[in-house]
């Protein structure tokens, strides 16, 4: 089996399964199957678990490009869209949980939340910015948009910054966990800055 085929027929399906596992676990907890339970305050538990996995998968998505540079192999890029779409799935469900289960569709309260609570404002903004990225993630859109596609999808950096900021801002006091996310994001973005600098330096050095 060629490495291309192996990725398509083995590794990508496995990645889908891995990405679905936290969601599957949550579904089993909701259904109270095999002794699994949600515990007290189930709405918040579901909301938080979905948000955490959405953010983790978003950072994983952003790790693919640096991984390609580090390994010198092209395969990480073949997982980028898959991971990004799974991240979007979790974050969309995170929002839906907030909307339907936590706030029970109470629109005036939701509008007030988004307008008055800065951490909700930026979280909601990040979610909205992700929608065009998810929609235009297909090969067809990519062809149609050409170079504008790349520019559009740079929005993912902003989404990740807003997402980590949202997490940092919402915790009551113990910022250790959000700081880990912020640190990883800083590393991933810093890597890109360093890479583009060394590239432009190389370009300058290359000019006669």
């Amino acid at each position: 089996m060629s490495s291309q085929r192996r990725i398509r027929l083995l590794w990508r399906p496995l990645a889908h399964v891995a990405c679905a596992l936290p969601l599957l676990y949550l579904v089993l907890q909701v259904a109270e199957v095999a002794g699994l339970r949600l515990g007290p305050n189930p709405q918040l538990h579901i909301r938080d678990v979905l948000g955490e996995w959405g953010l983790r998968l978003l950072l994983t998505t952003l790790a693919m490009t640096p991984l390609r540079w580090l390994t010198g192999k092209p395969w990480p890029l073949q997982f980028r869209r898959l991971l990004g779409l799974w991240s979007f799935t979790y974050l969309a469900l995170h929002f839906v949980t907030y909307f339907f289960l936590d706030r029970s569709l109470d629109l005036p309260v939701i509008v007030e939340d988004i307008a008055k609570r800065p951490y909700i404002t930026i979280g909601f903004a990040a979610f909205l910015l992700m929608i065009p990225l998810a929609v235009t993630s297909t090969a067809g859109w990519r062809r149609q948009l050409g170079s504008r596609w790349v520019a559009l999808h740079r929005l993912v950096y902003l989404v990740a910054v807003l997402g980590c900021w949202h997490f940092y801002w919402l915790v009551k006091k113990d910022v250790r966990e959000p700081l880990v996310y912020c640190g990883i994001l800083a590393l991933l973005l810093g890597f890109r800055v360093w890479k583009s600098r060394s590239r432009s330096r190389a370009a300058v050095a290359g000019t006669p």
């Binding site: 909701v30 259904a31 109270e32 199957v33 095999a34 002794g35 339970r37 949600l38 515990g39 007290p40 305050n41 189930p42 709405q43 918040l44 289960l101 936590d102 706030r103 029970s104 109470d106 309260v109 007030e112 939340d113 008055k116 609570r117 800065p118 951490y119 801002w169 919402l170 009551k172 006091k173 113990d174 250790r176």
Partner: protein, 323 residues
């Protein structure tokens, strides 16, 4: 002083115990053997409370109790904040096993005629224990109904004869990082301290708690002695108390020191004064099981529903500024 009975809360606000009971029947009927075994695993005695907790004898019922159905024992003891054991809601239950609430001594000092270090029994034994089923409201906008067992704090304090200079009562939590892993990290300035005005401390609703659900207080809930001020956010009700001081000046309080713009000295439950980062207008009644997934939030009541009893304490005080 005329103290009225607390107003009963609406039936729509009561934790749906029936949902839970029905769910268990449904599960068993459906033959989820694994699930039903797990449900009964932690249960030893008939009342569903593990046998390792010592029953408290001679507990009197109180007219101050709400008629709402209490939360389940596993909710009260499995989901709470006690940062001394970690910042997660399940940390207190998981990390408090090494804590030793016995023997226990409390230092009583400051503006009082009787001061010194007193044994737990000397503080608690002279009084009759009462069960008080109170609404509990966390500053994080979740709430429970909890059947505390304790004694009116005022009755205890009177025996130490506070002087006329005593205007506040300060409390301090034990500092034992070896037994309380959360204290190894300075997420808060340890030891935890809290305080009340003398009028708040002497109010008949203010309880010195020694138990819950008719048993001795589990470690995760603040064993062996904690405060319960039902009209204030939960963080005012300091746990595992080792020091009570009568003071002339307003004592420092831990969450206020940590974030003065978010947590005030008074911390009275107030739906009209939002936390800077979230609304306090409504709350989520803690409730487990599939049925509770679709329960709506409920409106938060001024002074957590105890306004008739305590609002007069704050006459003339600007509750927006003194949050």
């Amino acid at each position: 002083m005329l103290i009225r009975k607390p107003a009963d809360i609406k039936s729509s606000q009561i934790t749906p115990e029936g949902v839970y009971l029905r769910r268990r029947a449904l599960l068993q009927a459906a033959g989820f053997a694994g699930a039903s075994t797990l449900l009964s695993r932690a249960v030893a005695a008939e009342d569903g409370i593990p046998a390792k907790y010592r029953r408290l004898a001679g507990v009197r019922k109180s007219p101050f109790s709400t008629k709402a159905a209490p939360n389940k024992f596993e909710e009260v003891t499995g989901y709470n904040n006690f940062y001394e054991f970690g910042t997660g809601k399940e940390d207190p239950a998981a990390e408090s096993g090494r804590f030793r609430p016995k023997p226990w001594k409390v230092k009583i000092d400051g503006e009082a005629e009787v001061t010194g270090t007193f044994d737990y029994d000397a503080i608690v034994r002279p009084h009759t224990l009462e069960e008080r089923i109170y609404r509990f409201r966390c500053v994080e906008a979740w709430s429970m109904i909890v059947p505390w067992v304790g004694i009116p704090l005022g009755d205890v304090l009177k025996r130490y004869k506070p002087t006329s200079r005593a205007r506040y009562v300060a409390f301090e939590t034990v500092f034992r990082p070896e037994e309380m892993p959360g204290q190894k990290y300075p997420v808060l300035d340890w030891p935890y301290v809290e305080g009340l005005t003398m009028a708040e401390a002497m109010h008949p609703l203010t309880l010195l708690v020694v138990g819950v659900y008719g048993v001795e207080l589990p470690n995760q809930n603040g064993a062996p002695l904690r405060l319960m001020v039902p009209w204030k956010y939960g963080f005012k009700s300091i746990k595992s108390i080792v020091r009570i001081s009568f003071t002339e000046k307003e004592p420092p309080t831990t969450w206020n020191l940590s974030a003065p713009n978010e947590y005030g000295f008074y911390a009275n439950v107030n739906p009209k004064v939002d936390h800077p980062r979230w609304s306090q207008a409504s709350e989520r009644r803690v409730s487990s099981g599939f049925g509770s997934l679709f329960a709506e939030r409920q409106p938060t009541l001024p002074f957590n529903g105890y306004a008739d009893q305590v609002a007069s304490l704050y006459k003339g005080l600007d509750l927006v500024r003194n949050f």
